[in-house]
Amino acid sequence: MKYVLKLICFILICLGAFPYPSTSGEIPTEISPQQPNQKNPARAILRMGIHVSKFNTLDPHRAASTSDRILADMLYNGLIRFKPGNSRQMEPDLAVEIPEPVMVRGKQTWTFKLKENIFFQAYPGESPEKLTALEVCKSFIKAADPQRSAYAGGYEGISVVVTGPHTLRFTVDPPQSPLLFLPKVANYAGGFIVKETVDERGMLRLKGTGPFYFINAPDDRHLLLNPHDDYFRGKPLLGGVDIYFLPDADQRLSSIVDQKMHVIVGETDARWLQRIKDKKDLRLDSFGVSEIVNIYFNTSTPPFSDIRVRKAVAYAVDRNQFLAPFGPGLVYSVFSPVPPYMPGGLKEQEIKALGLDYDTNINRAKQLMAEAGLTHGFKMDVVVSEVGSFSNNYRTLQTQLAAINITMTLHLVDHATMHRLIRQDFNPIVIYEAFRPNTDEFLSRFFHSSATISSGKTPATNFSHYKGIDELIETARLERFTSRQIKLWEYAQIKLLEEMVVYPLHHKNQIYVRWDTVDYGHPIISTTALYPQFTEKTTIQTQRDTLQ
């Protein structure tokens, strides 16, 4: 009965606030050139087609989806930043340098000194405002506020005070290693520095210090970003970035082939990728950071509150089949929730040695279902994102679960809606793609009870409603020896797998397609922003700038 009510609710929502299909199909056949910055008429505007029909949020402290993170990266800065194109290296951003921690009265402190003459973006008629330590402090207070941030849980035990016009000090108690602390003040999630203002209509608006900003809110087609000419690293070489919502993969592909877009978000779909192979001057960029894709079970409610059912699903799933729809060399199977390339990630061999790989065994799955009293299976509804990788995975899962009489009905929604609904516990089983900058962040956000969606102290992405590894996560966070910290993370994952809270599927690279006239301004190895990153150095060569 509960499922029926939930389904009715879902249908009403779809027909009302979140109609499907989205308006992204209304892209004009001809994209007229725009000149958002009349001061720099010669600068080209880069047009980018993204895979969603709208942004989920314009607040970087709530940004969770790839599209939201893309936008946040262009608009905001952190005290430090992951080097553009190479997330393995950090460098000062708004801060003059990356400080070393100092123990003061038994507490760990980090003192940052800000660069001077950094200006926030200014709306028409406004004068540029300088960045001060006070604004930075306010931004972190916002980031640590569960009411105003999705990443508040990461700032527990961290306090910040202004010690001068351009200096501020963080006190971290208990102490954290640089590996854990620095990403919290970097250009990622809660680390983005924002200034809350009120516009002429009395609406809250967020300003940043990044190289681009928007004046008009996005409509259902696109969002135009203007260049921030007072950007402290230099005036952007681009005349702006125009982000178009093109959730339909084919349409997105057509738009770049027809030279209506400079860059589009690619699809990790073998057939889709095959279609661009013959296109001269089109470049496929595959880079990190990889997003880990896991299946999360809601362990708080039946049927997945029964470990036997969860294990039955695990035995029914064949992770290799999930790879098939994706292009070769873009997606790799994983066997632990945290991928093996991150500290604490477990390798396939190790997981198999521990007997936690749940090698596909339908008979065993059926036996477990029978033990759980579900010999005939059950039905469930799930919402599925319009994004191809999500829908592919759900469809594969749907097929595999059918073998043990689990009927999964898929409801395709736009990406933002999926994000919202899965946070409202709509899906008893969630397939989620995510990157987190470190293992603590990953485990804390996905498996700590405080991050439980809808009910946690600082709700995040604990879709499993699991609280069995809280102590391990907290102990590991406080552990000063890295080797022990890693081992605790490993044990935490072993427990997750033993109790089948999560079934690891694969990790996938970011895929983007561009014309070779686009120069990002940096080489790309990996990026936490989940897109190639457009900076003040990004340019488009003029000879091919003939997009109509």
């Binding site: 190790e350 521990l354 081992k487 072993i494 427990k495």
Partner: protein, 481 residues
């Protein structure tokens, strides 16, 4: 055998034995040391292994995560990974047995599950909680250390094949043997080279001495160094030079001596001839006159002067006897029979005369010796025979003589053999000239004057044979020259 060969024969075995013994001692001591090191090394590896396991097990308890069922497996998995990372040389390793002897972990995954429970050494492992193992595994001897990790019931063994423990030493053994062999060869070679270098001058000296022995006193040993050998060479050269001078002096003296001897003998013969002539012509004639006078005196005596007559007759007889003695003396001094009848007859006469005076018999074969030599040379031959026969009769007391003369090619060979008492030739040669007498020396001088040489074969009690050869004169009747 040359000196350096002798040295090689001595030094090579000594060097080889010494080096082999040194190698063996080194090998043996090294083996003991390696064994001890291996024991300690395995102990440390085993301790490290136990520590790895202990850490994993402790970690579970320390963080209160023993409630995770797979956690213990994880800890054991990590422990095994840690053990796999422990290196014991190249072939050593750590493995784990359970209490029943089943292999729980081994670097070779195929062996996991293999039972060791029936192995003889496993009984020791079961009896003790820790200890040392010497066992054979897969046909190879191993050294092992084991310890028991009680919380998990693991018997942890750190082991290494002896072949690896002694591996480097075994290689060293071959190396040492090779080094000993080559070392001894090198040492011997060095000794030989040095010996040859040292003895080369000595060999030159030996060759030089041989040359000197052969009469070549012009030899000069090259002086290549200033050491003792160089000095010896220098002294040798000086000695050779001195000998050469002395020899030349001696040869000159000898020539002079020979000349004097020949002159003396010639003068002696001349004097004998003069005396003989004087005796014959003066004394003989006077005696003859005296005899005739006496005869005449006798004839002038009457019968009543019978006593005087008797005295005269006796005087005549005495004069005849004196004349005969003078004649004999003349013949002895100058055997004119040589000139009259030839050498053979003269020698026959000489022998007959000796047979007449001594109890001696002689076999004579002296044909074909007449007219081959000049008269002077026949006289010299005659004198040699005269002296030899005199010696045989007077000193050797010989009763039998054999005299032969034969011609061979361009030489006349004379032989006088007696059956006398003989004598020790060496003993005679050792005597002083004064004791030795002139007999032999005179015969040798005469033979030399004849251009030949005398050879005497004798020994006490075995008689004496004297031989000498005489070159045949040019233009002689029977000679070819």
């Amino acid at each position: 055998m040359k000196i350096h060969h002798k040295l090689l024969g001595v030094t090579l075995p000594i060097a080889l034995i010494a080096l082999l013994m040194g190698s063996y001692v080194t090998f043996h001591l090294s083996q003991q040391a390696l064994h001890q090191i291996a024991q300690r090394w395995l102990k440390t590896r085993l301790d490290e292994a136990i520590n790895v396991i202990h850490q994993q097990e402790t970690f579970l308890r320390m963080y209160g995560i023993t409630n995770i069922h797979a956690g213990t497996h994880k800890a054991q998995y990590d422990a095994k990974q840690g053990l796999a990372a422990i290196q014991i040389g190249k072939r050593g390793y750590v493995y784990i047995l359970d209490k029943n002897g089943d292999i729980l972990f081994h670097p070779d995954p195929k062996l996991i599950g293999t039972s060791m429970g029936q192995r003889p050494w496993f009984a020791l492992v079961q009896q003790q909680t820790k200890g040392e193992l010497n066992y054979t595994w897969q046909g190879e001897k191993h050294l092992g250390k084991f310890d028991f990790f009680e919380p998990w019931g693991w018997i942890v063994v750190a082991t290494d094949p002896y072949n690896e423990i002694y591996g480097s030493l075994n290689k060293t053994r071959d190396y040492l043997l090779g080094m000993a062999l080559w070392g001894s060869i090198l040492i011997s070679f060095f000794i030989v080279v040095m010996t040859r270098k040292i003895f080369n001058p000595l060999q030159l000296l030996v060759k030089g001495a041989e040359k000197v022995k052969q009469g070549d006193l012009n030899i000069q040993i090259p002086i290549k160094s200033t050491d003792e050998m160089g000095n010896l060479s220098r002294v040798f050269n000086a000695m050779a030079q001195e000998m050469k001078k002395n020899l030349e002096t001696l040869q000159t003296s000898e020539q002079q001596l020979h000349y004097l001897n020949s002159q003396l003998l010639t003068a002696q013969e001349d004097e004998r001839k003069r005396i003989s002539t004087e005796l014959h012509d003066e004394v003989g004639q006077s005696l003859t006159v005296m005899k005739l006078k006496m005869i005449m005196v006798e004839e002038g005596l009457t019968s009543k002067d019978h006593a005087a007559k008797q005295e005269c007759e006796e005087m005549v007889q005495y004069i005849d006897m004196t004349i005969e003695n003078v004649r004999r003396l003349c013949r002895d001094l100058t055997p004119t029979v040589i000139a009259d009848l030839g050498l053979a007859a003269a020698l026959m006469w000489l022998i007959e005369n000796m047979e007449h005076h001594f109890d001696i018999a002689a076999d004579i074969d002296l044909n074909n010796v007449d007219e081959i030599l000049s008269l002077e040379r026949q006289l010299l031959v005659y004198r040699i025979f005269q002296e030899a026969l005199s010696n045989a009769v007077k000193h050797a007391r010989a009763t039998r003589l054999e005299l032969t003369a034969s011609q061979a090619q361009h030489k006349l060979m004379f032989s006088i053999k007696d059956n006398g008492k003989g004598f020790d030739m060496g003993h005679v040669r050792c005597r002083g000239f004064e004791e030795r007498g002139l007999g032999l020396a005179t015969m040798q001088e005469r033979a030399r004057m004849l251009g030949g040489n005398i050879e005497i074969k004798t020994s006490p009690g075995c008689g004496t044979q004297l031989q000498f050869t005489v070159p045949v004169d040019k233009g002689s009747k029977h000679g070819n020259l």
